[in-house]
Point group: C2
Amino acid sequence: MGKPYVVGIDIGGQSTKLGVVDARGNIIIQTSFDTRDITTLKGYMDELEKTLSRIINAPAVGGKEKVKGIGIGAPNGNYYKGTIESAPNLKWAKDKHGNPEVVYLKKNVESALGLPVVVTNDANAAAQGEMIYGAAKGMKNFIEITLGTGVGSGIVIDGKVVYGHDGFAGELGHTTSVRRTGRLCNCGKVGCLETYASAIGVARTARELLEIEPQRPSILRNIPADEITSKDVAEAAAKGDELSVDVFSYTGRLLGEAFADFVAFSAPEAIILFGGLAQAGELIFKPTVQAMEDNLLSIWKGKVKVLHSELPGSEAAILGSAALAWEL
Amino acid sequence: MGKPYVVGIDIGGQSTKLGVVDARGNIIIQTSFDTRDITTLKGYMDELEKTLSRIINAPAVGGKEKVKGIGIGAPNGNYYKGTIESAPNLKWAKDKHGNPEVVYLKKNVESALGLPVVVTNDANAAAQGEMIYGAAKGMKNFIEITLGTGVGSGIVIDGKVVYGHDGFAGELGHTTSVRRTGRLCNCGKVGCLETYASAIGVARTARELLEIEPQRPSILRNIPADEITSKDVAEAAAKGDELSVDVFSYTGRLLGEAFADFVAFSAPEAIILFGGLAQAGELIFKPTVQAMEDNLLSIWKGKVKVLHSELPGSEAAILGSAALAWEL
């Protein structure tokens, strides 16, 4: 009998979520801890190890003999090195000069818990989760696109997540196929897909459109421009606000154009959309698919599915990270 | 003892080249036949099988007992199906209405010769050849870019050529990361990388530059505009013709910008340039590397090599196709 459980850990900017998961994707136990007040790496690792130990030894799990391994999804998580490197949003991972420190996650957690650990970034974890528990079950070639505050991606080829030469492959949010000039990205480049297709990008497009067309009515004008969020735009669009619908059409068009280039790279069976923006449904899917089709080589027209993630929203991050551990 | 030889076949628009190759990349025997006068599929297959039989049974080879298998590189060659599909340049692969026929290469050659056959496109064959015999020896992750009449690509991840869901992965010449508007491509799309970075694209850039700057001196003005080839531009640039140097700078810049997006996809150790244009050396490498570096995420800056193919020019196509057969 193999060990029945794996642990999934999702490290975010504000909190860390942990869960013990079985092979069918049932979460046996889960918890999280707030990391906003943790300011040192040691403080973070202590809390992580304490919490891990607690859930692994919970009666419902039965101790580490029942656990195959631990999967961790983290910003800038590196699969080969088992580290987090240069993650700007993790306050506890900075040295006294405020520079990001290298976090030896795999090494530390393995020696503290005595279980094998695998680390990658959150989008790669989502792709692995999608393959084992979600919309990509049975697929060997697909691309997971995470549309959140930023735009991430996990690429699966021949049934395996692509890590590349250095463990950092799959940064499709920072391709600039869409616009060579334009918006400055957090990464320092200009015109990255992320500056348009992220939650922040959508809000920005809305603000720009409101400004460019000052006469055009929109219920978004009831909100101070600086406070408009992508959620506001989605809600307005769902109510039929035309300007808001146009924001999604524009975003989807850029996304679909980029997808056509991604298809030319790895010829996936499907592109799967995960995250907040994907929840806008047809508002974003329709223009995206249309633009992708318009830009595909004829051999791929009508053949590449664009699907909604089937990982359950609130537990997706834990499931994704957990899925990594089955490969151990 | 394994069988010591493989056969490599390169199917081009005007001729088909064949060679028997050993594990070190020595070509034991090679030949080719002209296909310009062959107008039927049956005519072609008869000639191919006859020639194959002749080289395999040559005394230096010793018959099919010495041959592990046959690798074929062909335009639109499909790895999974073993076919050529919709190849516009193969006159002998058209039905009586002039429409491209599906060529069941693998099936036909296997049953005629009694040896296993693998088929893919020429750029994938070049990538496989580079990995076994060329500049990518020992590499697990790299991208081969073929700069010829068109722009092709073969992507290697984890030591394997990427074929994708349908066998057609790696069409990076038809990504449009470079320009969304612009030149019409043979594929029907607009602004494909191929319209700029191919031999035809370079000649076109030269003609455009000569027209846009009518006062600017250039030795290319000694050639009728319609007859300028990329070779003319390379020769003029090598002689210090500034306008011609600018053509390569422009081409390299677009190529390098596209490379930065490719790196974000698969994080390769190297990008390897193969084909006529690559022979322009520093004229094309320098602006390409510069533009790539300018557009890379910081994690990759200074880390991705851009290399010249080490497959010997005249035999590269045979070596590439032959390399495929070692995987059989």
